[in-house]
């Protein structure tokens, strides 16, 4: 059926069908683990996650080969009436990262989430796998959405998938953390929805591409972008809205923490990028982006200082997430200060590169911390002396991830910082250089606090409660190596990130 | 006087009367001293008020479906309010607090 007003050739872009697969696959996973939960879940999950890798590769390949964004119009109803899915370079990269980390988490997921042959489904096994798929569909929906309300639903999917993961262990502390997280997330999404309403009321469309053509500066746009950004910042745990993150991320089981810290917070960040770069094309106000950058700088400093003061490994990693999220927001002032379009590209690449390399490094770190905590039964840093000799693979993986967060060459983190610094230099905003360097020093400091006792010789070896699975150690190591590789093969991902960008600074161009 | 005018007058009188009873019931709810008397004011006055409004509206709607819907609504509200006030009263009788 070709609806009136729809252009058939665009209505079902054949190559765009792979975008649908990225949504349908995890949905099937949710339904199957809801209905036939039990001992088949894990095997089924791993198959679906492996197919997911192929789908992600297909999207990246499609975007790369065609050189422009893939689109798919749901139901053949063209915007503004209908909803369009769109994968540009940013989406393709984030979908691929999500698929890789999902697969790793699926393999890593500890035995408490598996169901033995003779046992019935447990609460944790039931919830965990459904929520894993839920995070997957939510993230893919965020990355593919090209419609503000569709993105709202995707944001809510993220919330409803992430909050129960925080409280899955059911202790009072995690319940508290989950409730606080939920309340923050709800404020965030309702503010985002308010901004959506303002934009629709003024421009009569929710489609990002159409909106960017119609949008004109004015009170309504200014107000809607402010409330949306504030809401999304609350969901991303950007300083000063970061208080919910450390207890939530450190209280969850390690497999869940890895998802929350590496992916979930990037969802709302990604939508912020969409709004500032794609909706507000060329309207970004330099002063406003300085505020966003200042919040990022605050996050880097406060997160770093707080991480230095932690005595528990998982809390330290969680505070390091607060700090690392700060770097993401430096891209807004750097892009707004750019006078040529390549400067915008540089800033955008720096931010997205940080998102990706932090995702790998942080997932590896939380999983490594989980292995350590499983083995010795606690995560008190002071009592982990000599762990490096007893769990060399895990410690090595943790070390690589730490080097990437600090920004030591040749890791992905180094490359990110290098991009940020060159963007700061080229736009003459020297103050961000200070922040980036200070952040690196702080990261060096708090990571040293973990690594130094870990590599010290202990008089008595630590007693392990349970042996550490070699396979799980290798998964962690592979993720850490991804964080490392990001710094060595920067060419292709950088070009891929640029595919489908409608550039960018209309204001910057004469 | 045509039938239409008569129906109009019926509607005006009945709906105004109904509104008055609602008002009286609400004043009772706010001014009476304890739960039982408030309950009394509310249920009595509101049921009469609703009945009057229904009578006033019946000539305004299409026969038979919309009118039947109105009547069903009225009956359901009567049953629900009777039962809920009964439940509140019973709770009080068994020694709940009267606040």
């Amino acid at each position: 059926m070709i609806p009136p007003g729809a252009v058939s050739s665009q209505a079902s872009d054949a190559s765009g069908i792979v975008l649908v697969a990225a949504l349908v696959l995890p949905l099937v996973g949710i339904l199957l683990s809801f209905l036939v939960a039990g001992r088949y879940t894990r095997g089924m999950a791993l198959i679906l996650l492996a197919v997911g890798l192929a789908v992600a590769a297909g999207i990246a390949d499609g975007v790369w080969r065609t050189g422009h964004a893939l689109t798919y119009t749901s139901g053949g109803w063209l915007p503004p009436l209908g909803v369009k899915l769109r994968a540009d370079g940013l989406s393709a990269v984030m979908i691929a990262v999500t698929a890789i980390i999902m697969f790793a988490v699926g393999l890593y997921a500890p035995s408490e989430f598996r169901v033995r042959q003779d046992k019935a489904e447990t609460r944790r096994s039931f919830s965990f796998w459904i929520l894993l798929f839920a995070i997957w569909v939510a993230m893919n929906a965020v990355f593919l959405g090209n419609d503000l309300f569709n993105l709202y639903v995707a944001l809510e999917l993220v919330t409803f998938a992430a909050v129960p993961l925080v409280s899955i262990s059911g202790t009072a502390g995690t319940l508290k953390a989950a409730l606080r997280y939920l309340l923050f997330a709800l404020i965030g999404s309702v503010l985002y929805l308010l901004g959506t309403a303002l934009l629709y009321g003024n421009y009569g469309t929710l489609d990002i591409s159409l909106l960017s053509e119609r949008i004109r500066p004015g009170l309504a746009v200014w107000l809607s972008v402010s409330v949306m950004t504030a809401g999304l910042a609350a969901k991303t745990a950007l300083f000063p809205f970061h208080l919910w993150l450390p207890p939530a991320h450190s209280g969850a089981p390690p497999a869940a923490s890895a998802l929350l810290s590496s992916l979930v917070v990037k969802g709302s960040f990604f939508i912020t990028v969409r709004i500032w770069f794609d909706v507000m094309t060329g309207l970004t106000d330099f002063g406003a982006t300085q505020i966003l950058g200042a919040m990022g700088a605050g996050a880097i400093v406060v997160g770093g200082v707080m991480a230095l003061r932690q005595t528990r490994l998982k809390l330290l990693i969680a505070y390091s997430t607060v700090a690392q999220l700060g770097y993401l927001f430096l891209m807004f002032p750097l892009a707004a200060g750019a006078v040529v379009s390549s400067g915008v590209t540089l800033a955008l690449s720096a931010g997205m590169f940080q998102a990706v390399s932090h995702a790998f490094a942080k997932a590896a770190m939380f999983m490594a911390a989980g292995l350590v905590a499983d083995a010795v039964g606690h995560d008190r840093i002071a009592e982990l002396r000599g762990i490096g000799y007893q769990l060399p693979v895990t410690a090595f993986a943790f070390g690589i991830a730490a080097l990437s967060l600090i920004g030591v060459p040749p890791t992905g983190g180094f490359f990110t910082k290098w991009l940020l610094l060159s963007a700061s230099v080229s736009t003459g905003q020297w103050w961000w250089i200070v922040v980036v360097l200070a952040g690196g020093l702080l990261a060096g400091g708090y990571m040293f606090r973990v690594i130094s006792p870990g590599l010290a010789a202990a008089e008595t070896p630590l007693v392990f409660r349970s042996p550490v699975s070699r396979n799980r150690e290798i998964i962690v190591l592979v993720l850490a190596i991804f964080a490392l590789l990001m710094g060595m093969i920067p060419g292709t991902p950088l070009e891929l990130l640029q595919v489908g960008r409608v550039h960018l600074t209309r204001a910057a161009l004469p | 006087m045509s039938i239409e005018v008569a129906l109009n007058i019926l509607t005006i009188v009945a709906v105004s009367g109904g509104a008055f009873f609602f008002l009286a019931g609400t004043v009772g709810l706010l001014r009476f001293p304890d739960t039982l008397t408030r309950l009394h004011a509310l249920t009595k006055a509101d049921n009469v008020g609703l009945g009057l409004i229904m009578i006033g509206l019946l000539p305004r709607v299409a026969w038979p479906f919309d009118a039947l819907k109105l009547i069903v609504v009225w009956v359901l509200v009567l049953v629900a309010s009777a039962v809920s006030s009964q439940l509140i009263g019973r709770k009080l009788w068994r020694g709940g607090d009267g606040s």
């Binding site: 809510e156 989950a178 409730l179 400093v301 | -």
Partner: protein, 113 residues
């Protein structure tokens, strides 16, 4: 002044009230109520937009109406999840407060910055 404008001003008031209560209210149950007041304000704003978009014989633009219906159900889901968390927390600790540790943290943070 017409009907949509009046209800739009009402929506603006509800949004401010709800957000204020959400920020300052310490009790989670009251925060949940505030979230609902705020959410309904946003929905009402959509309704104003819908009504203003009346055209071609329709009394309003159907798109925002459909968005609100979706939004109401999502808002209810959120309320249900929050209430379940709160009740479980209450069973576990005898209190619904999610704040005490937050205040401690913010205090210690103020101390070092």
């Amino acid at each position: 002044m017409n009907v949509p404008t009046i209800l739009g001003i009402c929506a603006a008031g509800l949004i401010g009230l709800g957000l204020f209560s959400l920020i300052v209210e310490p009790q989670p149950l009251r925060k949940i109520l505030a979230f609902n007041v705020l959410g309904n304000g946003v929905f009402l704003f959509f309704g104003v937009v819908a009504r203003r978009g009346a055209a071609v014989g329709l009394f309003g633009d159907p798109i925002p109406q459909a968005l609100v219906i979706t939004g109401i159900v999502v808002g209810f889901s959120a309320t249900a999840l929050a209430v379940a968390l709160l009740l479980r927390l209450f069973d576990e600790t005898g209190s619904t407060s999610s704040r005490d540790d937050a205040q401690k943290e913010s205090k210690s943070e103020r101390a070092d910055s």
